[in-house]
């Protein structure tokens, strides 16, 4: 249900709170076509199950009653990770259990919440508020909690320290977290419950069903130790300075900010990381604090570079009646390895870093929209043939596609929008002979074409165009087109 809940949350956010009442099915595409990856409870009621082909699912439900969305496991994993960080309010040791589980080590934490029963209730309520379907169980081992949460009868359960075996007995084999093949192998010999596995002679299990089964049983019942890999919370790196009373001198504030920046970079260097965003906060007396933020295209802990970016912001900042506190924070941060200092700064690596610094400086002054790269879009309609994307990384950034640019040649100067012109042609579909615009008129001496570009059928009422490249008597090469439906002529570009 995790993926379904996430998609629903995104849908609600996108439609500003309006709820889509249709059933939801997440679709994945594999070599054999489209399949149902996850589905909501209503779809399940209609008989749709994960793994079924999409065609089959469509046959089971009316077409307008289902909403199809792509299944994005990576996105769901990332969301699970952030949920794990959120869950650190209940326990310092939280691990993700993909695809849709979280494991919390609550040893000692239950006291803080007034017992494990209370803790389970609190976790459940919090998840309810977030709007995620969930089942919560606490137990003496991770294995028991996992099995009871997924296969137990209640949505919230607590297993007593000595009740592990009793709790696991009635559950199906799958609750032991074993591979699907093991479940099937046991099913073939008629073993479907944990109690029945426990009744089998222990020494025969590994040879018949693999070593994993025994390990899982031991872990669930507490005779083998299980460790988990907890997620780590990375905290922002920050430094601050408090003045003795409000400082009004710009130089003093600037000096403090610069010192803090050097300090911050030293801190980052000790952690072998670099900042992706740096925020400078000024607490002003009698006025609210202001935050100056600099976003970087690549992680950096170069104080000189960061100062170049921050300083103009700081100079323009309004100090009000004086600044009481300066705080500098780096967040998010990224790992950035130490570098050997060398005398000769040459080579492609340095250049990429230098380009990154240059782009940061440019973006800082011209804005994200003022610094772009062009990406080619596959369409025949000339005015839509390219898209501007933000220039961030160095070299050829991943979002930019250039390989599809191919002939026929296009003029380097494109007029947007195209300019309507008066054209005299000898035949209705023929090349133009004279072109006239508001200021004058010119004779066509040579022409190439026509090249027909049809409107894209999925955009309604887009006319078909016949393009001609013509040279006029002044030597100008112009790109004109004739709209077949309306008979009008437009000037669309120039070779210059």
């Amino acid at each position: 249900m995790w993926s379904i809940d996430l998609v629903r949350r995104r849908m609600v956010a996108a439609s500003r709170g309006r709820r889509d009442r249709r059933a939801l099915v997440l679709v994945e595409t594999d070599g054999h076509g489209q399949r149902v990856a996850r589905c909501c409870a209503r779809a399940r009621k209609a008989g749709i199950t994960p793994g079924m082909t999409l065609a089959h699912a469509r046959a089971l439900m009316p077409i307008d009653g289902v909403r199809l969305e792509p299944f994005e496991p990576e996105r769901d994993d990332a969301a699970l990770r952030s949920l794990a960080r959120w869950a650190m309010r209940f326990s310092p040791v939280v691990a993700v259990d993909p695809p849709d589980g979280l494991l919390l080590d609550i040893t000692g934490c239950d006291r803080l919440f007034g017992g494990d029963r209370r803790l389970v209730a609190r976790v459940g309520e919090a998840l309810d508020r977030l709007g995620f379907a969930h089942r919560v169980a606490a137990g003496p081992t991770f294995g028991v909690a996992w099995g009871v949460a997924r296969f137990g009868g209640q949505a919230r359960a607590v297993v007593a320290d000595d009740g592990a075996t009793e709790a696991m007995r009635p559950l199906p084999i799958a609750s032991l977290r074993v591979a699907d093949e093991t479940v099937e192998a046991l099913d073939e010999v008629g073993v479907t419950r944990v109690s029945e596995v426990l009744a089998l002679p222990r020494s025969t299990l590994p040879s018949r069903f693999g070593a994993e089964l025994l390990l899982r049983i031991d872990r669930a019942l507490g005779s083998a130790i299980e460790t988990i890999e907890p997620v780590r919370l990375s905290l922002p790196v920050s430094v601050e300075r408090v003045f003795d009373g409000p400082a009004t001198q710009a130089e003093a504030i600037e000096l403090a900010a610069h010192e803090l920046l050097v300090e911050l970079c030293e801190k980052l260097a000790r952690r072998e990381s670099g900042a992706r965003r740096v925020t400078l906060e000024l607490d002003r007396s009698d006025l609210g604090p202001i935050a100056l933020t600099v976003t970087l295209s690549r992680a950096s802990r170069d104080a000189e570079h960061l100062w170049v970016l921050l300083r103009p912001r700081l100079e323009r900042a309004d100090h009000g009646f004086g600044v009481e506190r300066v705080m500098l924070q780096a967040w998010p941060i990224e790992r950035l390895a130490h570098e050997q200092i060398s005398r000769w700064h040459e080579g492609p690596r340095d250049q990429e870093a230098e380009l990154g610094r240059l782009l940061d400086t440019l973006v800082n002054r011209l804005g994200q929209r003022g610094v772009t790269r062009a990406s080619v879009v596959q369409t025949h309609v000339p005015e839509r043939a390219c898209r501007r994307v933000a220039a961030t990384g160095a070299g050829t950034s991943p979002g930019v596609r250039t390989d599809e640019v191919e002939a026929p040649p296009r003029p380097p100067l494109l007029l947007t929008p195209a300019q309507e012109v008066k054209v005299t042609a000898l035949t209705p579909d023929g090349p133009p002979r004279r072109i006239g615009w508001s200021g004058g008129e010119s004779e066509v001496t040579a022409s190439l074409g026509p090249e027909r570009i049809a409107g894209e059928w999925w955009r309604r009422r887009e006319p078909t165009r016949d393009y001609f490249a013509v040279q006029d008597d002044a030597g100008r090469w112009l790109w004109v087109y004739h709209e077949l439906e309306t008979g009008r002529w437009f000037l669309h570009g120039r070779w210059s």
Binding site: L362, V371, V405, L414, L448, G475
Partner: protein
């Protein structure tokens, strides 16, 4: 360093010239001297050989790196035609976009050999952004390395030009160079020299309006571009072949050659601008009677 000196050859005068250039760079404290990279060959034989015979201003083998080159756009007096408007009535101009693309692509190609990494071309001012769909074939690499900047005003445009030229990661800067004073032009030229010393290209191409031919500047060369009429009627198979004549109106360090003219043609099969076939073998007859393209 072997590769850096491998290409010193030719007449004793040329060798002396190159060595002088090397010494100048070393004295300026450049981190590395790259002889092979010091010029951007234009690919137009007659132009290249004329530039090779020039003084230090033009550098060796084409347009000098670490310098700014001004290109005066094509004047347009017919106000109805689409062009950039000037202040006066009937005053318009259009950028020699194909020539700028050609030179930018050559600057990228001659610099990037074997280095890879983050080299880039920057186009400053939306007026001089070529339409991306025109980067076909040979220009595909150029498009992949192009960054387009749109400064809000003249001051930030100058700031961006200077910053990019000064950077060691940029090979070529193509910029809208309208309304530049002598002081600003000097700053830009110094930035280009600093850029070359830092390992970048420091190669600036400024597009200036046709009527700014009288403005003084510190640029290494100044070129005037005019439109020429392509002779004959085009067959329906070939791409459009616009023609221009370019005139070297100023070249720092030598006054003798200024006024030389060459005819160029765009749109051959590969999209590159070249000297048209029917002009190559014709004896010169241009302004001063010596500059028209000859087979070199």
């Amino acid at each position: 360093m072997r590769s850096a000196y491998a290409d010193i050859e030719g007449s004793p005068e040329a060798v002396r010239q190159r060595l002088r250039e090397v010494i100048r760079r070393v004295e300026q404290g450049g981190s590395e001297v790259r002889l092979a990279d010091s010029g951007v060959p234009t690919g137009w034989d007659a132009v290249d050989s004329a530039l090779a015979n020039q003084g230090a201003g033009a550098g060796m083998g084409g347009l000098a790196r670490g310098a700014v080159h001004e290109w005066l756009g094509i004047g347009e007096h017919d106000t109805g035609a689409p062009c950039e408007r000037g202040r006066g009535p009937g005053q318009g101009w259009i950028l020699p976009m194909s020539l700028l693309m050609h030179l930018a692509a050559r600057a990228i190609r001659t610099a990037g050999e074997g280095e890879g990494g983050g080299r880039a071309a920057v186009w400053i001012g939306s007026r001089c952004w070529p339409s991306p769909s025109s980067f076909a074939g040979v220009y595909a690499e150029l498009l992949g390395r192009s960054i387009f900047l749109e400064p809000r005003d003249r001051v930030s445009r100058l700031w961006a030009i200077e910053l990019c030229l000064r950077s060691g990661a940029i090979d070529v800067v193509v910029a809208d160079g309208a309304r530049l004073g002598m002081a600003e032009s000097r700053r830009i030229q110094l930035a280009a020299e600093a850029g070359l010393a830092r390992g970048g290209g420091g190669f600036g191409l400024l597009a200036r309006p046709a009527w700014e031919g009288g403005a003084i500047s510190a640029a290494a060369t100044r070129w005037i571009v005019r439109r020429e009429i392509t002779p004959g009627s085009a067959s329906s198979r070939s791409p459009p072949r616009p023609r221009w004549s370019i005139e070297l109106s100023r070249c720092r360090g030598s006054a003798s050659q200024s006024g030389a003219r060459w005819v160029l043609e765009g749109g051959d099969e590969t999209g590159i601008v070249c000297v048209p076939a029917d002009v190559v073998d014709r004896p010169g007859s241009a302004a001063d009677g010596r500059g028209l393209a000859r087979s070199a």
